[in-house]
């Protein structure tokens, strides 16, 4: 009964929302025109990358902080690690993973590079890297993480720190994240390279840190 009421309420809300959306006039401000007009001085050629790393780069900076924070929260909660008793992975899976992992790294680098001209960039590249790490972990080629050592912590926070350093450095010459147009290209590439590695490690960490106590999963 309670569930039915919730479903009914949600349905009413959706109908109301769609009804209100249908009689909406076109928006009075067209931001895509401003994006296209400023694209040449943004340092990249793809509008999405220009918005994410330049026009609204501050949002992205804080988003990366949120992702790093999510990993720190998992570490801070400190889930008790139990011994991992999983049946050994099949040799076929292991061979396949060994084959796939280097290819995935190449794909990640390609996605990073192509982000300047086409859909792609650090988030997608990092996700592919993380997927490679998860695959290796599931094939028993990469152990789960306990508490990260200095090198791993440097990898996790490095991308964010590079981004923060560039943002703060530019503050001394003007505004936060105000790239000089002629240098914007390589600065964005530097930030995105750092982010690819760190995002890959963070996303992989979300899985590898939590999988410490999955002893009963087959």
């Amino acid at each position: 009964m309670k569930r039915l009421l919730v479903v009914l309420g949600a349905a009413c809300f959706v109908v109301l929302l769609i009804g209100a959306m249908l009689d909406l006039a076109p928006a009075s401000i067209a931001l895509h025109a401003a994006v296209s007009a400023n694209l040449p001085s943004s340092g990249v050629e793809h509008p999405v990358t220009a918005v994410l790393l330049n026009f609204r780069g501050y949002d992205t900076l804080l988003e990366i902080a949120v992702l790093l924070l999510a990993l720190i929260v998992i570490l801070a909660i400190g889930i008790d690690s139990t011994t991992d008793v999983r049946p050994a992975a099949s040799p076929v899976l292991q061979a396949l993973a060994r084959l796939a992992a280097p290819l995935m790294i190449v794909v990640a680098v390609y996605l990073l590079w192509v982000g300047a001209f086409r859909p792609g960039g650090a988030f997608q590249a990092g996700a592919v890297l993380a997927a490679a790490a998860v695959l290796l972990h599931l094939a028993e080629l990469l152990p789960g993480w306990q508490s990260p050592g200095l090198r791993l912590r440097l990898g996790l926070a490095g991308g964010f720190l590079i981004f923060l350093a560039v943002a703060a450095g530019l503050l001394f010459q003007g505004a936060l994240l105000e790239y000089p147009p002629e240098q914007a290209g390589w600065m964005i590439l530097l930030i995105e390279s750092g982010l690819t590695v760190s995002l890959g490690l963070i996303l992989a960490g979300l899985f590898l840190l939590l999988s410490r106590d999955d002893g009963d999963r087959s």
Binding site: S28, G57, Y58, I72, L75, A76
Partner: protein, 473 residues
Amino acid sequence: MMVWLILLPLLWASFAFLLGPGRGTWLAMAGLFAQLWLAFALASEIVAGGAVIHAIGGWGAPLGIDLVADGLSAAMLLLTQCIALPLAVYAHAYFKRDDPAVTYFWPLVGFLLAGLNALFLSADLFNIYVTLELLGLAAVGLVAAGGGAQQIAAALRYLFATLVGSGAYLLGVALIYGAYGTVSIHTLTPLITAEAPDLVWIAGGLMMVGLMLKTALFPFHFWLPPAHGGAPAPVSALLSAVVVKASFYLILRLWIGPFSSLTDAAGLVVWLPALLGALAIFWGSYQAIRAERLKMLIAYSTVAQLGYLFLIFPLLASAGALQAGIMQAFAHGLAKAAMFMAAGTLIKATGQDLVAGLAGVAERMPVTLFAFGLAGITLMGLPPSSGFLAKWQLIELALSQQYWVIAFVVLVGGLLAAVYVFRVLRQAFLLAPANSVVTPVPRTLEWTAFVLAAASVLLGLRGVELMQLVGVT
């Protein structure tokens, strides 16, 4: 200058993480000290020369994101940094070196403060959503850190509440963007008129309800007492004193900013926050009077004190209502931080957390009890405290507009606060049972709480400066 208020905590938080588990205390202290100085410098700059704008990336809204510091944001920044530094000193003395809660304490606190400062400075609806996520996630992490099953359950409930709240807010922002094509507050303010399409009303409603859930306004307060009562004392102090004020600040900012033409045309709806606030005062005080555990009593007192903040909404048309609200935010922030810190010290010393077990502490720990009493004076609204100033102004405004009911609620709320504060004080002055043990605690714990409690009372004498700051636009 204001940008460094965001960058500094991000920097020391990440470096504390790099240094490793349990490290980074001194880095954090240095950062917090610099932040306090920056907040004071920013406030005096604004009083002298008006609001300051920083266009990130040099683009300017609506293409880029603007940071704006006016009197309201500067006041909230000041409150946050003023509480954070003594609290950090307290936390350093409170946690044992091997306490699991301290493993990643400093990085979490750093990200939390960065989220708060970024939220107070942002002039962009979507950017505010990102800061809300940073703030909410860090707060949940601090509640859960190193705790047992019960604490993690409270943290999870808090996580669900805060996610639903930010989800509703984000949906509202998406609808606003669909309607107007921008999320910049300053571009939106002249565009949103009383003849706005229905969708904008729905969006405004969603954002307000989401933020009320995050502020734990009655009846959305269900998540607050277990989360604030169950966390370690320094964390409870930080959450109760400033974190819930962040979403209140946003409600206020939207109410008098972009949605002002909507709220002017809304008729009797403007009484809804005040009605919920009045109910929060009664219900929170009632639960605090009944609570058996000391920290639950203080957490329910937070539910009640947050209610006062919402009493200002029907009065916002007249000058001085904004000042009364911010004065109440300061009074409650300073006093509640002091109260949770004093409670943490008492619990550490007596080894238990029941109000009934406090007999005899007045004799053994006079400084801590005095801090608790001073904070209580502010919560009750006795002169010359800042709580008195806030409530006095609220009553004066209400009477000048013939809203007798608001004045009545404020007066009764003060009496109810006296009941639960004196419940604790009376117990503390009883003679200790013969077998009671009070373990000695570091002096730092006693004096940091005292400093904040004294500040909450003394602010009443210097309230004019604060009210002048809040008035700058």
